[in-house]
């Protein structure tokens, strides 16, 4: 990279369960509020930012320019350009890398990477036959033609279609895929519930110490993450019924992420731009890699980041021992646990073309302020939540501290990135 790219701040709104306090808010509203909070924190009202890149996984057809429209609604200069990107659950990390790369190449001096999702405000489509009939009716030149088109509508055409949660190639939902992975890697219920409880406890502790005072701006009277249960325990989680994997399944609503609403944003810049705007760089973006696995052929759907992690570390001449903090997105508790098991597994890693096992890590260095199980997971927002959180944590630890982010995504994909405190 030619120019050093630094993370100088971030903002998100508190995340909340779908159908909760943000049920009436659109992705546009949430993204705008998130940008405005970031602008206020960093004193950028009226500034022209190089580019804003955002995205959502669940998108309405008229949200084709979602990010640009949010910029126009925000306190940023209207001359700030924007584009939408989509990389499933890794969208927020993909937008970060998209802008980091442009900054590194000297195409931009500053950028805001963002992601937003509303599972409450999910688009609902009409059935394909009905859609064809409506299009035909709109093309009709005479009333008779139009009537003929409408006459073909049948009651079965009228049932609305919610967005599909199943993988198109396998027909399995993400939870069902992960249940296969959970069994394959022998992940126990106790381990999953333990990881979920720790996520809640760590997030609660971070809130209590004011860690999020400069990372979160309240929205619609919600001041804290609404999914967080500070008083949850392994015992309470153990009482929940399985949600995936049949009656003997180990995955529950407690150790799987909830459908969530929320938005997050990261401010990226060159060091010079940060200094000129009186902003303190937290961490630099070192490198990243996106990867995919052949899940239709049976590979674990959510373990694509494992290969990317191994190749990325090798490319940077690093091992897991050189990484101070790890952020592995908690799609499901068992995703994190299977990822850690895969990192330890010599044969699995060699099977990915790596030189050997990635290695074993100390769990005290993993998701130290909690992750998606406790915070929630508005799909596209998660990457943009993790980047500033990790950057600030690394900055607190001091220059040279390194952190690794691993985010799995639908389609058997994933994005991994490394940050280093400056």
């Amino acid at each position: 990279m030619h120019h050093k790219v630094v993370v100088v701040g971030g903002n998100r709104i508190p995340f909340a369960k779908a159908g909760g306090p943000y049920a009436q808010a659109s992705s546009h509203d949430m993204l705008t509020a998130t940008l405005d909070g970031l602008v206020a924190r960093t004193g950028l009202a009226g500034e022209r930012i190089g580019e804003v890149a955002g995205g959502a996984v669940l998108k309405h057809p008229n949200d084709f320019n979602l990010t640009r429209e949010a910029v126009l609604s925000s306190a940023l200069a209207p001359e700030t350009p924007a584009c939408d990107l989509q990389q499933a659950c890794a969208t927020g990390l993909e937008t970060t890398m998209y802008l980091a790369n442009k900054i590194a190449l000297g195409q931009l001096e500053s950028g805001i990477a963002a992601g937003v999702d509303s599972a409450s405000d999910a688009p609902i489509a009409v059935s394909d036959p009905l859609r064809r009939i409506l299009l035909e009716a709109s093309r009709a030149r005479t009333a008779k033609q139009r009537f003929a088109a409408f006459a073909r509508i049948r009651p079965r055409h009228l049932a609305p279609l919610a967005p599909r949660v199943a993988e198109p190639r396998t027909g399995l939902s993400m939870g069902e895929h992960q249940a296969v992975t959970t069994t394959r890697w022998g992940i126990t219920r106790e381990e999953q519930d333990g990881l979920a409880a720790a996520s809640h406890h760590r997030l609660a502790a971070a809130w209590d110490r004011g860690f999020f005072d400069d990372l979160v701006t309240p929205y619609l009277r919600v001041a804290k993450d609404a999914i967080l249960r500070p008083d949850t325990s392994v015992e309470r989680l153990a009482a929940l019924k399985p949600a995936f994997g049949g009656p003997d399944g180990t995955m529950t609503a407690g150790n799987s992420t909830a459908l969530s609403d929320g938005a997050a944003a990261v401010l990226l810049a060159t060091e010079e731009w940060a200094a000129a705007h009186h902003l303190t760089p937290w961490a630099r973006v070192v490198d990243a890699e996106v990867a995919a696995v052949d899940h239709p052929a049976g590979a674990d759907l959510l373990l694509a980041p494992v290969g990317a992690t191994g190749r990325l570390l090798a490319r940077q001449g690093l091992t897991v021992d050189d990484i101070d903090l790890f952020e592995i997105h908690e799609a499901f508790a068992s995703t994190v646990l299977a990822t850690l098991a895969a990192w330890r597994d010599e044969d699995y890693c060699r099977g990915l073309g790596l030189d050997g096992a990635i290695g074993e890590i100390d769990r005290a260095r993993l998701n130290v302020t909690g992750s998606s199980l406790a915070v929630g997971h508005p799909f596209a927002a998660t990457g943009a939540r993790i980047v500033p959180t990790l950057a600030k944590l690394l900055h607190e630890r001091g220059p040279g501290s390194r952190g690794l982010i691993s985010v799995c995504a639908a389609g058997g994909q994933g994005v991994v990135a490394i940050l280093e405190a400056v």
Binding site: R41, G43, D213, V216, P218, L279
Partner: protein, 449 residues
Amino acid sequence: MSALEKAFYSPVGRKVAAKAGLAEPPRLRRGRTFPQGAIVLAPLGPSTLVAETLALLGRAHESPVVDDGDEAPGYGDRIGALVVDATDARTVSELEGLRAVLRPAVRGIERAGRIVVVARPGGGGGWEADAVARALDGINRTVAKELRGGATSTLVYAHEGATPGDLVSTLGFVLQGRSAFVDGQAWHVRPAAVAAAALDARPLDGRVCVVTGAARGIGAAIVRTLARDGAVIVAVDVPAAGEGLAAVANEVGGTALQLDITADDAGARIAAHVAARGARIHAMVHNAGITRDKILVNTDAARWGSVVDVNLAAQMRINDVLLDPATEGGMADQGRIVGVASTSGLAGNKGQTNYAASKAGVAGLVISMAPDLAARGITANAVAPGFIETDMTARIPFVQREVFRRSNSLSQGGSPVDVAETIGYLVDPASQGVTGQVIRVCGQNLVGA
């Protein structure tokens, strides 16, 4: 709005209220606006202090009509203001000179006009001079109560040695609409090392002003007013108020700092935020405050502690950090500290022992700080709002609220901007000679002395 309140403000309700003696309150003049009519200058002796101050303000003045017979003479056109230079007055008999210019002026003043008396404070001039100084205070308070149509009266005690440059910001504030809700008040102006040459329309250009409790109400008005005057705003409020805070900060192109002012590191975090911008603080406005009202017999330690901590102790801890010259991003020399007291604190208010303690404490604090900070040119003052129309006072039941509104010489509640403008005057670099003062912004509320 309750049904009763709607009925009261309906056309029929307004007529009934007018018949019952509850006249429509006068419309106040606000902003950086001078009176429309002539400014009349009445020196009671050879002093040219006020005449020279008016010259710095760029305001022409006319001679007064003097009442020297049985028939009170009048002004042809309504006058905008009467400014009396009473700095030579030392004897009781000289008060007659004041009466003689006040009588025609009070009768002939325009709506939202101004009566201003500039005099020497008591102390050091002998018994009679002290009696006169205090007599002027009684006159000022009474004239304020008799003036109608939103006109106000102010007494300025100009200390020996205070120059026109020391007085210009004060006289400008008092004459302009910025002082709309300041009535019947008296405060002191001392000689300052650096005197101003004129009234600046953007006196805070590029200066960092920190405002706590900035997300809404009076705090948001302070932010907007100081920003209008050129300030670089750091808007502070508790993290839970962050949404409103962001909107206010973005509106003025400032920065939002989500911070609980009672946190141990609050002062350090404010300073670090300012230091990161390579600046020091020109003005620290301690506006954040809470109420936890209960009569004393129902006030427990928690209700007591939270109010006293937020409203008084927190700003003392923050001041300690910011006033340390070694603190990067701390108070600049010639800086300004402003506390927000309350007429509830000055007069006491049933159900608010904790609040009264904290707000009277703020008044005591700035009075004590002022002489100690004088060597660095830092001033410490407080404003004491009376009944101000905010979300907080909107929750008071309607009848009680209407009584509070009308219990002052201007027959209405003040606007948050009235408090903000008074703070803007105090943090003006030209107000160097104004320190250790507590200025009530209450329309001369019946309580609060």
